[in-house]
């Protein structure tokens, strides 16, 4: 190691120590609780896999996460695709709009959706007022509301990830396809889509992992009626004080996420994404 490299390495030491002391160790302690609380053994895991309530929570989490991911990816792809086709000036404005939500707290965004979606909210009033519907629709405090809020939260991330991937595709490849006689639909399915697989894989993985552990938006827009894993854990820890079950569930969630990343990292599409521009 050159002295510069030693210095550079040395600069990472404080951050690494902080991470280990304040993050890794507490997490390991919490996870250890799942084997010791209230008694030593696998009792918490047995209870977890046997519990019908937890089964429902897991099912809700999987459905909401899957729907959120699919909707987010489809809509974000459309936006990212439009972004790469814009003139530079329009693109700057559009990218700015995409990033505006980053400056608004997730709490504020969730409550904003409630004012829009609740029974006498903005959307229902407009629809009833215009005579399109007679009775207000149930748009919030259910899975629909949670999914709306989550998709809205996830889209900027997915758009930026997909845009980074799409803007790397050489425009001459698209021109080549046209010169060879391909029409827009063919070019989309045979060229754009295969070349954006790495971006789609990364973005999907990101959204799935994010959704599985999402707390704030489902808690507010679901109002306890759409119970997902993170909220369930939070309730067990702070209200019912069943730390053993809560930590067992946390451990399982962590393992599932780790497994997803491991499987994804082996897929050729994602490997290509991690290798960067070399496709």
């Amino acid at each position: 190691m050159s002295s510069f490299q030693r210095w550079a390495f040395g600069l990472t030491v404080p951050a690494a120590l902080l991470t280990i002391c304040l993050y890794v160790v507490p997490i390991l302690q919490v996870l250890a609780l799942s084997f010791t609380e209230p008694t030593f053994g696998l009792g918490n895991y047995v209870e977890m896999f046997g519990s019908a309530a937890i089964g429902r929570v897991v099912r809700t989490t999987m459905i909401v996460s899957a729907v959120t991911t699919v909707l987010t990816i489809v809509m974000s792809y459309a936006v990212a695709f439009a972004l790469v086709h814009m003139r530079p000036a329009a693109r700057r404005v559009a990218l700015f709009m995409v990033m505006v939500p980053f400056w608004v707290s997730v709490l504020v965004r969730a409550f904003a959706w409630i004012t829009i979606l609740r029974r006498n909210g903005v959307l229902n009033s407009a629809l009833v007022g215009s005579g399109a519907i007679a009775e207000p629709l149930e748009l919030v405090y259910n899975q629909f509301g949670v999914i709306v809020g989550m998709v809205h939260y996830m889209m900027p991330f997915a758009i930026l990830l997909l845009y980074a991937n799409l803007s790397e595709i050489d425009p001459r490849i698209i021109q080549a396809a046209r010169s060879l006689g391909a029409r827009p639909v063919t070019i989309f399915t045979r060229v754009w889509l295969p070349l954006s697989l790495p971006g789609l894989a990364i973005a999907s993985l990101f959204i799935v992992i994010f959704s599985l552990g999402f707390l704030v938006t489902p808690a507010i827009l679901g109002a306890g009626r759409v119970l997902m894993v993170a909220e369930y854990i939070s309730v067990q820890i702070s209200s019912t004080l069943r730390w053993g079950v809560a930590t067992a569930l946390s451990t399982t969630l962590l393992l599932v996420v780790g497994l997803l990343v491991a499987v994804a990292a082996r897929s050729p599409a994602l490997r290509a994404a991690f290798e960067g521009g070399r496709r």
Binding site: D170, R172, I173, Q175, A176, A177, R178, S179, L180, G181, A182, R183, T186, R190, V191, P194, L195, R278, R279
Partner: protein, 352 residues
């Protein structure tokens, strides 16, 4: 009527004029090269022919039919890009099959044609490779094969060889010439390298600032550059000032009888501009009929087969001379030498 007719094509990007009323007629089966310095509008013309650049005005006729507004995907022209633009996710065979699948050929016909094209461009053993597993020259062959696979009416090539090393470039030049002869397809080739243009073309169109300033066979253009720009751009000609009263020529302060190529109405009199090729000036030995003049040697540099000697004439003009090494080795900068020149080797430029 020509096969491809380009009429007064104009294209401006803001204040930059890329094409300034270009006229060009190309015959079926011809190999035409667009030659010019970078930024002279070659790519713009090629992309207008391909359909990707919409000219501001002017028309492009193919076999008499106006195709100016036709989309690139409907033109059936092959296009080879600088940098190849292969489909990175498809194998060599699938890259070549792409235009055939798009045209909904049946499987057996596609397989047969892909085989044929891969043999044609010399890639038969690499069918399953991905583009990133190929060398630059091989990628080039895939790009050419893909553009030829569907039997295009015209093959357009934008500086396809500029990224290759010299040896590979020579090989690919011969390959392109062979492909042109074997397929009979009309080739329109863009380059800024005059030797490349000489080696392959039936005709060369020389570009300057969005205009074609001369068009003709390589030999015509080499022998009779039409302007000071062409004379200077091609072959590093010596561009010199001379004096004439119409009867005698005064070059480097030496009076000589007027060469036959001179035409007073076209070339004018008084102070005129002439050009002389570096290889037409002899150092030392004197051929019968040559005029001799003494010069001061400024620099000698080895250029491979011969030496390039830069000398200063008595009236202070700089002259580039190509001389055999045996002679040039004797010269040192600062020494004096004698040059000889046949008056018939002097070229005249039209008054501008």
């Amino acid at each position: 009527m020509a096969f491809l007719d380009i009429r007064t094509l104009r294209k401006a990007y803001g204040s930059a004029i890329a094409l300034d009323g270009v006229d060009l007629s190309i015959n079926e089966g011809e190999f035409v090269t667009l030659l010019g310095p970078s930024g002279s509008g070659k790519t713009t013309l090629l992309m207008s022919i391909a359909g990707f650049t919409r000219p501001d005005s002017g028309t492009i006729l193919l076999d008499g039919a106006d195709i100016t507004g036709v989309d690139p995907e409907d033109r059936n022209f092959g296009l080879v890009f600088q940098g190849y633009a292969l489909f990175p996710h498809l194998s060599v065979a699938n890259n070549i099959a792409f235009p055939l699948r798009v045209r909904k050929w049946d499987k057996a016909r596609i397989a047969a044609r892909v085989d044929e094209v891969m043999k044609l461009v010399g890639l038969d053993k690499l069918a399953a490779r991905k583009p990133r597993e190929l060398s630059g020259g091989q990628q080039q062959r895939v790009a050419i094969g893909r553009a030829l696979a569907f039997g295009p009416k015209i093959l357009l090539l934008d500086e396809p060889l500029s990224a290759l090393d010299r040896k590979l470039r020579d090989t690919m030049q011969r390959e392109l010439k062979r492909l042109h002869q074997e397929t009979g397809v009309t080739f329109v080739f863009v380059t800024h390298d005059q030797e490349e243009a000489y080696a392959m073309s039936d005709r060369i169109a020389v570009f300057q600032n969005g205009n074609i300033v001369q068009i003709g066979s390589p030999r015509e253009i080499y022998r009779a550059p039409a302007s000071r720009f062409v004379a200077g751009f091609l072959g590093g000609n010596n561009i010199l000032s001379a004096q004439t009263d119409g009867a005698q020529l005064d070059l480097f302060g030496i009076r000589m009888p007027m060469p036959a190529a001179y035409d007073r109405t076209r070339h004018g009199d008084g102070a005129i501009t002439v050009w002389v090729r570096p290889e037409d000036i002899a150092l030392g030995d004197v051929a019968p009929g040559a005029v001799c003049f003494s010069v001061k040697v400024a620099d000698v540099s080895f250029v491979g087969t011969s030496e390039r000697v830069t000398v200063i004439t008595a009236d202070g003009q700089e002259l580039s001379v190509l001389a055999p090494s045996a002679i040039a080795r004797e010269l040192t900068p600062g020494s004096t030498a004698t040059c000889a020149l046949l008056p018939s080797a002097i070229g005249f430029l039209a008054r501008e």
